[in-house]
């Protein structure tokens, strides 16, 4: 267990060793919540949506967590494949390497979400603090799954980054209260988490069905991330 904790800690440090990454992990949530949220109401209005005020600030915090965690998880898989296979072959096993990776990804996701949450709280207060925290974490964990899945199947860093950006764009445009259009494109991966976050930002509760949908999506995303980390770490022989 201590070996697992040590390796997980090493994986976290691996991403935090670059000062620019540290600055970005702190600055991007602040940027989303303070700057992006201020124009988001106008942007959603142009798209025919109704997002504004506390809801716009709240959803910005979720997108910040999603944006950072998607890229982070993608690079965790794509850049570390060789090292993870060596670790697995050296006796740690692909399952434990995957567990260490997902522990590190979740720890970084929690840190990023906490920054976004605290910025949101400092900016405008949060009507439903516990609901908002859960929803922001859901955004982070769902994108850990998406980024890791892309990393498992796409080896090129440019291709993977473009795919993460594409999924993020589709998701943002199809978010609830963003546009007046419905249809199939209205079902992005974070749709239910966004509904929870918008409700939390405006002081409303959310129905049990939405909580169940978010829980199921997060569980599926983390299971997919574990699978992706395991696939990347297992030996090819």
């Amino acid at each position: 267990m201590s070996a697992l904790a040590f390796v997980s800690g090493s994986f976290v440090r691996e991403h935090l060793r670059t000062p620019v990454t540290m600055v970005m992990l702190a600055a991007i949530p602040v940027f989303f919540v303070l700057i992006f949220a201020s124009v988001l109401g106008q942007f959603a209005g142009a798209l025919g949506g109704t997002l504004a005020g506390g809801a716009a600030s709240a959803i910005s915090a979720g997108w910040a967590a999603a944006f950072l965690c998607g890229s982070l998880a993608f690079f965790q898989v794509s850049s570390s494949r060789g090292a993870d296979r060596r670790l697995a072959s050296a006796g740690m096993g692909a399952g434990r390497v995957a567990l260490a990776r997902i522990t590190a990804a979740v720890a970084l996701g929690v840190a990023v979400s906490a920054t976004a949450y605290l910025t949101l709280w400092a900016r405008s207060g949060i009507a439903h603090p516990a609901h908002a925290a859960a929803a922001i974490l859901a955004f982070a964990f769902i994108y850990i799954g998406i980024g890791a899945l892309i990393g498992a199947f796409v080896s090129g860093a440019l291709e993977g980054s473009l795919l993460v950006v594409l999924v993020f764009s589709v998701d943002v445009f199809s978010g609830p209260a963003m546009t007046s259009t419905g249809g199939l494109l209205a079902y992005g991966p974070t749709r239910d988490a966004a509904k929870l976050l918008i409700a939390a930002g405006t002081g409303q509760g959310s129905p049990g069905g939405e909580w169940a949908a978010v829980t199921a999506t997060v569980a599926a995303a983390l299971a997919a991330a574990f699978g992706a980390f395991w696939l990347a770490a297992r030996s090819r022989t």
Partner: protein, 258 residues
Amino acid sequence: MLSRSQAATIMGFREQLRRPLLLILLVVVPAYVITRSIATTQATPHLIGLPGGTMIITTMKALHGAVMAGTAIAFVAGLCGVFVMQSALSGDRRLVIAGFHPGEMVLARLAVLGSDVALVLGVSLAVTALYFTPASWLQFTGAAALIGVIYGLLGALCGAVLDKLSATYLILFAVMTDLGIVQNPMFGNGTPGRWAVLMPGYGPVRVMVGGAYSPHFDAGGELLLSLAWAAALGIGVYIVLRRAVAVTSSSARAPASE
């Protein structure tokens, strides 16, 4: 008989052609982002300022058509810049050890980056043409190309000095802040604020907005500023990358690292 520069450039293009997913994404990402954003935007009226001080009333839908191509080009060109240079750092030093000149390798990589930017530019303008007709295609296309060059080079600079994750975050953050918000006439009073001039997107976006709505060219200062950014970044990338792939006597003795 091919020169070494030609051989390095051809190798770079072959590497790109062996990645069909990349070529698909270079088409799909800008096409989707531009189509979706214009198609979903409402035709609500909005006042904007053109270069030269003229104020006009347009619609949010038309304005999104005018500026979204620039934002999409900057996102994709920036990421291409980051990873074309990351790829250069990992492989080109070996070729330099094998006898290639560092300058030849840098120019070959810049040629590959230029072709990626040209592809994204062509796709973005073709998709934009389906929804929006600028008053001056020449001015609009030139400005879009300048956005691609400036952000491609900025990405290349980030890719040459930072690791993959930091460079990716930084370039996406820069595009979102600069083109997505600060220069975007869809927000605020439709004219960029006083500090917007300090950012690389100011010049080309102003030229682009001018070309979108006016057949006359009133953005001489903004064009010069854009060219200055492009030249400075081009020189910066050449120097940084040339140093990065150059082989010193000590590194030549050491095995080439990953």
